[in-house]
């Protein structure tokens, strides 16, 4: 049975497996964190300018059609081999969906609410932190969910440009035609993505109010 062989391999090579898992999670977490730190403030800033948000939405849309594999591959000649090029490529993958959803989420807020906040004498910062961010949050979470799935899948491909992670077991498994090794990589990668999808869907559902239609999956 291939599956039991895969488990035996994991127990026999516990350190290697744990190292790859750690590398994989680190890659995902760092790139997602940086992408959120870039896209959310940028999205909130440009949402009020029709021209800037038009440009950003179209640019992000076009960027999303470039396949993950190509974005990772392009990082290789520009930045070389290893973890840093992979993280940079994953940031490029994660920014468009979060930026898109933040921008759309803020734009879909009822203008009356924003007017009221101005009338109440809120400053720009207060309006962003107390009105715009909370109301756009379900849409932002939806964007983060799409980005997480992209990043977890992209991190599996990082193995091709020397980024390490669980993808290494898949590439080794295919190269050696060793089915159990293949599963050592593929099963945890699939479970990780499914877990992220389920957890973020639950978070999204908990945050969206019954009459809030602004949560939009950009996928």
């Amino acid at each position: 049975m291939i599956l039991t062989q895969a488990f035996e391999w994991i127990f026999a090579n516990w350190e290697t497996f744990l190292g790859a898992l750690e590398q994989h999670l680190l890659m995902c977490a760092v790139s997602l964190g940086i992408a959120i730190a870039i896209s959310v403030p940028l999205g909130v800033t440009i949402a009020r300018s029709p021209l800037a948000s038009f440009l950003a939405i179209n640019f992000a849309g076009a960027l999303r059609t470039i396949p993950s594999l190509a974005i990772l591959a392009i990082a290789l000649p520009i930045l070389g081999i290893g973890l840093v090029p992979s993280v940079v490529a994953l940031i490029v993958l994660a920014v468009p969906p979060i930026l898109l959803n933040t921008c759309i989420g803020v734009r879909e807020i009822d203008p009356g609410v924003v007017d009221a906040s101005v009338g109440m004498g809120m400053t720009r910062m207060q309006r962003v932190s107390r009105i715009e961010l909370p109301l756009a949050l379900p849409a932002i979470i939806a964007g983060i969910k799409t980005a997480s799935i992209q990043v977890i899948g992209g991190a599996a491909l990082a193995s091709f440009i020397g980024g390490g992670g669980l993808g290494d077991f898949v590439t080794a498994g295919i190269a050696l035609m060793d089915m159990s090794r293949l599963l050592v990589g593929a099963v945890p990668i699939a479970l990780l993505a499914i877990l992220a999808e389920i957890l973020l869907s639950l978070l999204q559902r908990a945050l969206s109010m019954p009459d809030n239609s602004s949560s939009r999956d950009a996928r």
């Binding site: 470039i66 396949p67 591959a73 000649p77 898949v170 599963l183």
Partner: protein
């Protein structure tokens, strides 16, 4: 830029392989999802299960899915098409079921009252009304699959991904750019033309998802 002008036939061949992979997968998925979509649209329980399961399965990364198929199907074009069909199924079933579900029950009642049979009602009433949703599903499936299909080259299914992988192995940036940009251009073209088709199929004042 010397490799691209010298290798136009090779690039066109990869483009053809790529289009074939995507077309065969979306077409097979379309037939299956029409059955599941129509069946689940009138069954709220089944619809909820279909939406939940397809959402979760779509999250599985392409490299992992292709790898999981290798022990059963080996490598090559067949497992690639099976994997790509699975991805487009996830997208199409959701959209097709949603399209049939969005039809107002009054319209169906009126059709029944006019003596339409089940099959005629499906063909003449439900299908045209669900069409914008169906085309939207096909558009999303085609655009997503054009990107995902690049990874299929790793299991020897050919296509534009093969050029990208050659570029990685040989440290040849021009091949990476050629393969990547061509894939992106293909996706943008498909997106544009299917969006136009979607608008043409939409009756006045109706909005698809």
């Amino acid at each position: 830029m010397q490799w691209v002008p010298d290798n136009v036939p090779r690039i066109l061949e990869a483009l053809g392989e790529h289009l074939l992979l995507v077309a065969v997968s979306v077409a097979s998925a379309f037939v299956i999802s029409m059955f599941i979509g129509v069946w689940s649209a009138r069954r709220p329980r089944a619809f909820a299960v279909v939406i939940a399961v397809t959402g979760v399965l779509f999250a599985v990364p392409s490299l992992a899915l292709f790898a999981l198929l290798i022990p059963m199907l080996g490598i090559g074009v067949v497992p690639a098409i099976v994997g790509l069909t699975a991805y487009s199924l996830m997208i199409l079933v959701r959209n097709i079921a949603a399209g049939f579900q969005a039809i107002a029950p009054e319209i169906l009642d009126a059709a029944d009252g006019m003596g339409y049979g089940k099959w005629r009602r499906l063909r003449e009433i439900e299908f045209p009304l669900a069409l914008p949703y169906i085309i939207a599903g096909v558009r999303i499936a085609v655009v997503s699959l054009i990107g995902i299909a690049t990874v299929a080259a790793y299991i020897n299914a050919g296509g534009l991904g093969a050029i990208i992988f050659e570029g990685i192995d040989q440290r040849f940036p021009e091949k990476i750019f050629a393969g990547g940009l061509l894939t992106s251009a293909l996706a943008l073209t498909a997106d544009y033309s299917l969006t136009r088709l979607e608008r043409a199929a939409r009756p006045g004042g109706m909005r698809a998802p």
